[in-house]
Amino acid sequence: MSFLHNYIYYIGAFGLIFIGLFIMIAKRNYIKVIIGLSILETGVNLFLIAVGYISNGTAPIFSKAGIEAENMVDPVPQALVLTAIVIGLAVLGLVLSLAIRLYKHYGTLNLQEIKEQRW
């Protein structure tokens, strides 16, 4: 039980990462692959935040006078994730535009039917 209590955030984050990876490997529809990419990215962000967490910690903001610096969580992963979310959004837009191009060119989004994409 204590194992579950200690590692529940890691388990959740890696669960999302594995779900996303499995979707990207197994699914044939390009839109579903993009959804898998998005889920994977969320899992990675959750994992980075969980690495920086401290038990009973507060957000790293000195908004009031009585906030102790000792209890603050690690600000570096939070800054990383802040930038990663925005980059993820831009990459999602780029991938969706490629999906539009693919559909206009081949008339299908099934990767099995597109000859160059088969594996």
Binding site: Y10, I25, Q78
Partner: protein
């Protein structure tokens, strides 16, 4: 067959991760660099939000690179979609009166909220990227809900995007000439801690980032909406 290969691959990766995670305790200690940021960040950058002082203070060069990545993604999206022939006539159903009025009513408060988020980036949770995303969400609402065909002003979008990037780089270059002389040096006075006019160049850079990100994301939305 693909599913079996995928499951075998995932089991191998999961085994590697489980064995390495047991060496890594949860929620106990910070890195040394984080201790420095938290203990010295208030004096060195003047920002109350330590995440902001990392993003725009200590690591602002990386933020400049990240803004460039976002810009490149927007350019790539434009280049991929530019060669497709535009659709002229779409038979779309017009939005109802309640929806279009509500969207026209909500559009200015959402813009104002986005501006609030990026102006107060050094004091509260938030900043240029989040504020820019909120501004882009206002444009999503306008595209989806408004009655008549409205489009974003292309010149305005280009001007605010270029101006945002230019302000960021020019402030960084001014830092080369003043004081300790390094790129993106925080040369302005720090001001009183935890007030709006504090933390030197950080609010200015975050406002520039907010304009740039908001213009870029609304441009991406505009391109994607035209094609669908």
């Amino acid at each position: 067959m693909r599913k079996i290969i995928g499951i075998i691959l995932l089991i191998i990766i999961a085994w590697g991760i489980i064995t390495s995670l047991q060496e890594m305790p949860f929620g106990t200690s910070r890195a040394k660099v984080a201790d420095h940021y938290i203990n010295k960040g208030r004096e060195e950058t003047g920002a109350a939000n330590i995440v902001t002082s990392v993003v725009v203070g200590y690591r602002s060069l990386d933020t400049l690179g990240e803004v460039t990545v976002l810009f490149l993604a927007a350019i790539g999206l434009g280049a991929v979609l530019a060669t497709i022939k535009r659709k002229e006539d779409r038979d779309t159903e017009k939005a109802s009166l309640i929806l279009s009025t509500g969207c026209r009513f909500l559009f200015p408060p959402i813009l104002l909220f986005g501006a609030y988020i990026f102006i107060h980036g050094h004091l509260t949770p938030g900043g240029g990227f989040q504020g820019g995303a909120i501004i882009a969400s206002a444009f999503v609402l306008m595209y989806l809900g408004c009655h008549e065909e409205k489009k974003i002003n292309e010149t305005g979008s280009i001007i605010s995007e270029s101006l945002g990037g230019l302000v960021f780089v020019v402030i960084g270059l001014i830092g080369l000439t003043i004081g300790t002389r390094y790129f993106l040096n925080n040369f302005l006075p720090k001001g009183e801690f935890n007030t709006l006019l504090s933390a030197g160049i950080i609010p200015i850079i975050y406002i520039a980032i907010g304009f740039k990100v908001g213009a870029e994301l609304s441009k991406i939305i505009d391109l994607l909406m035209e094609e669908s």
